[in-house]
Symmetry: C2
Subunit: 149 residues, 2 copies
DNA sequence: TGTTATTATTTCAACATTGAAATATACGAT
DNA sequence: ATCGTATATTTCAATGTTGAAATAATAACA
């Protein structure tokens, strides 16, 4: 149990906040995957379907930016969704470098069915916090997420 | 831009908090990796070294529990750390099912050098929040992390 | 003491993730 | 129109991640 780090109070507090933040998100994601929240899809596949559902057709670069994932990753995730018959690829006629990704009818049905269940699971998880606490958490996370600019 | 989900105010608030929480952690981790924070190690490798540094020798099952990762995953991450010469495996003499993982001298030097830099990067990131805000964030995350019991 | 159940680790297939190199297309300046 | 630069995607190798099956060792107990 030797604790090797003797930091300033500021450092210890930041470290404590960081550890609790990381663990909370890890634990939350683990619980959401254990349930039906993603309905047999991976979190990444679900994320792509959800983005297309809410924003309409997007090219892979836009998906990459929305989901904070690399371009190479998007290629694979979209490959797998195409194989599952949930999305389609087609070259952008205006700019043939881009590949537009659109929901198939099956994909739209799937995400339409899954999304409300996903939201319900999130509501359940967040019900340990009051509405005020949820608003505070969102506000603090917004500040923190933008810290790097 | 069609928004398909018309939820209750409670659902919209929980969803908003969830999205901001996820994005904040993703963005934060991305910025920490871009810097020297892990010193050429992956986040997983760094996590194992850090746990051994603070807690002393652990078996893989204990590392798995601490880091919220699967057993199969720990086998691989420890494999890679052994190959890098930063940790050693040895069978527990008392319970030969267990594999104890210990820091090598090189591993100890590495994490001793890296950890303070890691903390400094975290302090910098969290400096956009006041001490009170950091404490509030930690408290809310602690509640949320335990939500699933 | 055998038998059975439990626990710890490894192995494996599938998918995720990144970063860098390769390819293809578009754009800007001359 | 051409050349050079910038952008979008794909490919690839390395690592991470999980869950399930296989192995090995321990523990419980009739």
């Amino acid at each position: 149990m030797t604790v090797h780090y003797q930091g300033t109070p500021e450092a210890l507090q930041a470290l404590d906040a960081y550890v609790k933040l990381s663990r909370a998100v890890n634990a939350l994601e683990a619980r959401l995957s254990e349930r039906h929240a993603y309905g047999g899809l991976t979190a990444s596949q679900f994320g792509v379907l959800e983005a297309l559902y809410h924003l309409g057709p997007l090219c892979q670069g836009e998906l990459s930016a929305k989901l904070l994932k690399s371009g190479g990753n998007l290629t694979l995730v979209v490959d797998n969704l195409v194989r599952l018959g949930l999305v389609e690829r087609e070259r952008d006629t205006g700019d043939r470098r881009r590949v537009m990704v659109t929901l198939t009818e099956a994909g739209r049905e799937r995400i339409t069915e899954l999304f409300p269940l996903h939201v319900q699971d999130i509501v359940t998880e967040f019900s340990v916090l009051s509405p005020e606490e949820q608003a505070t958490l969102a506000s603090l996370c917004r500040k923190l997420g933008k810290a790097g600019q």
